[in-house]
C-alpha cells in the first residue's frame, strides 16, 4: 500500500435517523450513532434488518425521516444529495460503467470534477498501482474477473479522496477463497488510508475480521454495538447470541450458589432461579470422564482444524462442542462435558 496516500479521518454522527418508506413501512427505527474518525464500523444483520437503509442514509441516497440528522465532522450534510457529499461508495454488484475502460472508470470522479486529463490519468494510474492492477488500465470491464472488478471499484471510490468510504456487501458476489484474500486486503487498505469506513454485510466472519466496531441490527433496530470481542463474548440479547457464531442455550436452575445443569452441578454466583445459560462450543471441555455432565456423542463433523461434536446428555440436552481436530470420537461414545462458570453467559431479563 502506498504510504503517501492518506485520507482525512472524518467522524460521522447519526442523530435520530429513522426511515419510513411509502406505505408506512418502517425500515429503520430512530438511530443515534457516533463513528470516530478513521474507524471501520460494520453494520451486520440479516436481510431486511435496516443495515442497507442506514448505509444509504449515511451516503445521501436516502433522506432520513423528518428530525433525523447526519453529520460529517461538523458539517450537517442531511440535506445534501450523495453527489455533493464527497463520499466513496463500493457496491455489491461493483457498478462499474460498462461503456468505459478500467482507467476511465477510475478517473470518472475526477472527470466530473473537471480535473485536467493529464492529471486524471496520473492519479488513476496511481490508484490502480495501489490496488495492484496497473496492468489492467486499458481493459474493458467485461474482460475482468470478479475480484479484479472489485479492486477497480475500490480504486474508483478512493481516487476522489472521499471523506467517508461506504461499502455495501462488497465481497458477497465473490467465491469464498477470493472473499477471504480480498477481505484481508481491504482491511490493510482501510488501516493504511486511515479513512472512516462504513461497511455493510450479512456475513459475521467478514464483520469480525474488518470491524473496529460492529453494529448488529435486527428488524430496523440496533441490537448491539461493540467490538467484535464484545459482540461475540457478551451478546446483549438472544438475537445477537444466535446470530453471531454458534451458541448453546441451556435451561438451568441456580440456587444457593450452585448451578444445576441437568444432573451436573457447578459453583455459581450469577442470577438465581430458573435461568437460561449460554456457552460457546469452544468453551465446553470434552473429556472421557470427570466433567460436570455426562453425555453421548450424537454426531461429529470433522472440520480439519477442529472436530465439531454434537453431544446429548442423559436429560435430553443437546450441545454443540468443539474439540481439537485430531480428536477421534464416534457416534455413541460416552463423554463428559466440563464447564467453566466464568465462561457461562446469561442474558439480561
Amino acid at each position: 500500500m502506498s504510504g503517501s496516500f492518506h485520507l482525512d479521518a472524518v467522524p460521522v454522527r447519526l442523530r435520530r435517523c429513522a426511515k419510513t418508506f411509502h406505505g408506512g413501512v418502517r425500515a429503520l427505527e430512530p438511530l443515534d450513532l457516533d463513528i470516530r474518525g478513521g474507524e471501520t464500523v460494520v453494520f451486520l444483520g440479516p436481510s431486511g434488518c435496516g443495515k442497507t437503509t442506514t448505509l444509504r442514509i449515511l451516503a445521501g441516497l436516502e433522506r432520513p425521516d423528518e428530525g433525523g440528522r447526519v453529520f460529517y465532522g461538523e458539517d450537517d450534510v442531511t440535506a445534501l444529495p450523495i453527489e455533493r457529499r464527497n463520499v466513496g461508495m463500493v457496491f455489491q454488484s461493483y457498478a462499474l460503467f460498462p461503456n468505459m475502460s478500467v482507467a476511465e472508470n477510475v478517473a470518472y470522479g475526477l472527470r466530473v470534477r473537471g480535473v485536467p486529463k493529464a492529471e486524471r490519468r496520473e492519479r488513476a494510474e496511481e490508484m490502480l498501482a495501489m490496488m495492484h492492477i496497473a496492468d489492467l488500465a486499458g481493459r474493458r470491464i467485461d474482460q475482468l474477473s470478479g475480484g479484479q472488478r472489485q479492486r477497480v471499484a475500490l480504486a474508483r471510490a478512493l481516487v476522489v479522496r472521499p471523506r467517508v468510504l461506504l461499502l455495501d456487501e462488497p465481497l458477497t458476489a465473490l467465491d469464498a477463497k477470493l472473499r477471504d484474500s480480498l477481505r484481508l486486503e481491504i482491511d490493510r487498505l482501510l488501516r493504511a488510508l486511515g479513512i472512516t469506513a462504513i461497511y455493510v454485510t450479512h456475513d459475521q466472519a467478514e464483520a469480525m475480521a474488518l470491524g473496529d466496531r460492529i453494529v448488529v441490527m435486527s428488524k430496523g433496530r440496533v441490537a448491539q454495538v461493540g467490538t467484535p470481542r464484545e459482540i461475540y463474548h457478551r451478546p446483549a440479547d438472544a438475537f445477537v447470541a444466535d446470530f453471531i457464531g454458534t451458541m448453546n442455550r441451556l435451561p438451568a436452575v441456580a440456587q444457593d450458589g450452585r448451578l444445576l445443569l441437568g444432573r451436573g452441578e457447578l459453583p455459581w454466583s450469577g442470577p438465581q432461579g430458573r435461568i437460561e445459560v449460554l456457552v460457546r462450543p469452544e468453551d465446553v471441555a470434552l473429556t472421557a470422564s470427570g466433567g460436570h455432565v455426562d453425555a453421548r456423542i450424537a454426531a461429529t463433523v470433522f472440520l480439519g482444524d477442529r472436530t465439531r461434536v454434537v453431544a446429548e446428555t442423559a436429560d435430553g440436552l443437546t450441545l454443540t462442542v468443539d474439540a481439537p481436530g485430531r480428536t477421534d470420537l464416534a457416534r455413541g461414545d460416552a463423554v463428559s462435558l466440563g464447564f467453566d462458570p466464568a465462561r457461562l453467559l446469561t442474558l439480561p431479563e
Partner: protein, 306 residues
Amino acid sequence: MALPPSQPPPASQGEAFFPSPAKRGRGQGWGQVLLRRDPLPLAALMAPAAVVFGAFFLLPMARLFVIGGSGAEGWAAYASILLNPRHLQSLVSTVLLSAGVTAVTLAVSTVTGLFLVRHRFPGRSVLVAMLTFPLAFPGVVIGFMVIMLAGRQGLIGDVTQALTGSKLVFAYSMAGLFLGYVYFSIPRVILTVMASAEKLDPSHEEAARSLGARPWQVVAHVILPALKPAFLSAGAICFATAMGAFGTAFTLATRIDVLPMTIYTEFTLQANIATAAALSFVLGAVTWAALATARSFAGSSVAAAG
C-alpha cells in the same frame, strides 16, 4: 457476477459425441446435429430458410434490379436518379425527413419512456396504452389525423385564426408528413426504450452520483450509453419505416416529394416501370446503407471508448 455461469452441459451430451444415425431423425437427434455443427445436416436444416430467402428476397430483388436497367435508358436509369434533379431531390428529402423523424422520435420517446419507467402515478398504465395506440393505425388514418389537426379545417388553423387572424396550415406539406411520421413512430420506439430502461442497473447511477456526477452527467455518461443498443434497434426500425411509408404521404397530398410517392407516380401514372424499379432498388439500398453506417459508427465509438 464473479464469473459467467458455466453453461450446464446438455442432458444428452454423451450421445452428442457418439451420434447414432438411427436417432438422428428424431427431435433430440437434430438438436445434437446443431450442437456438433456438422456441415452436411446443418445445410439441410438451413435449406427451408434458404429457399424462402431466395424465393422472396433474392429473386425479386434481382428481378427488380434487372428491370431497373431494362428501360429506354438502359443501366443509365440508375445514374439518372442522381442526375435527374427531381429524383435526386426526392431521394435527399426522403433521407432527411427520415433522419429527422428518427432523431425527434428518439428524443421524445427517451424522455417519455424514462419518465414512465421511473414514476408510478394514477393513470400511468392508461397513458402507456394510449401512447402505444397508434401502432394499430394504417398510414391513411395517420394522414387523416394530421389533416384534422393541421389542415384547412384543422384545430391549429382555427386557433391561429382566432389568435392572429391568419390561418396556420401545414398538413399538406413536409411538415405535416413529419408530424404524422413522428406520431406513428413513437409507440415502437417508446416500447423498446422502456423495456431497455427497466433493465438498467440503478447502482450504476448511484455510483456515478457518489463520484460527484450531476444529474445531467448521469444521463449523459451512464443512462444514454446504457440505452444505446435500444436506440440503435428502435432507431433503425423508425428510419426504415419512415423511408418506405406511403399511406400517410398519399393521404396528405400528391405534391409531397418523398421517394415512395415518386415511385408510385412513375409506376402508375407514367407507366415508367424501369424508372420505378430503379428507384425502388435505390430506396432499399440507401436505407440499408444508412442503417449499416449507423451501426458501424456506433460499434466503432464503443470500441474507441474501450
